[in-house]
């Protein structure tokens, strides 16, 4: 399923670690603190456990939103937006 990971983290070091955890899970960076990509339930659980151990639970906040494909089709993108096909793994490699 498609998953949004959105975070608000105070410490730069922690923020970098969380960003790396998201990228290593295989999701794409669509904004500075927003990631989007295709993960299964087990991968979502694993990522949330990983992030939970990195962040300060008293100060930081991380949202992990699942999103169904039907709703994703209704997403409106304005301005400098991400490639819809890329984040849904419809295309694996981009040739320029």
């Amino acid at each position: 399923m498609l998953v949004w990971v959105i975070y608000d983290i105070i410490k730069t070091k922690t923020r970098t670690k969380v960003a790396k955890a998201c990228l290593s899970a295989g999701i794409y960076r669509v904004q500075k603190s927003v990631f989007l990509g295709e993960l299964n339930l087990n991968q979502i659980d694993q990522l949330s456990l990983k992030i939970e151990r990195l962040i300060d639970l008293e100060k930081d906040s991380v949202y992990i939103f699942p999103l169904c494909r039907d709703d994703f089709k209704k997403v409106k993108l304005l301005g400098q937006a991400f490639d819809k096909k890329m984040v849904t793994d419809e295309i694996r490699t981009k040739f320029f």
Partner: protein, 204 residues
């Protein structure tokens, strides 16, 4: 591929761990890849497995003498390695509990959240442990306990009956059949499991 045993006694010496039975329940092809082709799944690299193992280590150190009075526990043993030649099972049990009613019970810690439904694998694991306990301690086992670490140590009691014991023994027989004949079993009926399978790249 592993060659067939020369005699029945060689086959009889085989034994399985409850973990291997759980792999079989996930997908019979796990047994083929792990035992016949000797391709390890490297589960130790998974974060959830690592965290689960650390939980087990902590349980061995912290509050060792704690007895759950609510379930009628009067004595317990921690991290018990048992071998049952009769049922061809061996394995490490988290806890063996002595209960007030004169029965014994296995207790298993799960690094998981408690959901309303009870998974088949949990039942099988406790049943296999019950068979090992009965064979080694020669006392009856009527129930097992699960502790869900990620749900504030929620305790779940699971009755273990003859039906469960038969199913567990049947699963062991099927595992032996794959190991001894080296036949390629059919995959699991649930294709959803394939998405998260470590062998998906080599499974046809």
């Amino acid at each position: 591929m592993r060659s067939e045993p020369n005699s029945f006694s060689e086959a009889v010496e085989l034994s399985v761990t409850p973990s291997l039975v759980l792999e079989f329940l996930f997908c019979p092809r796990f047994i083929y890849f792990m035992e016949c082709l000797n391709i390890p799944q490297h589960e130790e690299l998974r974060l959830k497995v690592q965290l689960g193992r650390s939980v087990h280590e902590n349980k061995q150190r912290i509050n060792k003498d704690y007895l759950r009075k609510k379930i009628g526990c009067i004595k317990k043993e921690i991290s018990v390695y048992l071998n049952s030649p009769k049922h061809h099972i061996r394995g490490l049990l988290d806890e063996v509990l002595w209960l007030k009613d004169g029965t014994l019970a296995p207790m298993e810690y799960k690094f998981a959240s408690y959901r309303e439904r009870l998974f088949r694998t949990y039942k099988f694991q406790l049943t296999l442990q019950a068979l090992m306990i009965e064979d080694n301690y020669e006392l009856p086992v009527q129930r097992g306990f699960l502790v869900f670490v990620r749900s504030k140590n929620h305790l779940l009691t699971i009755p273990i009956g003859d039906r469960e014991r038969l199913q567990a023994k049947k699963a062991i027989e099927q595992i032996f059949d794959i190991i001894l004949t080296g036949k390629f079993p059919s995959r699991t009926r649930s294709r959803a499991k394939c998405a998260d399978c470590c062998y998906k790249n080599i499974c046809v």
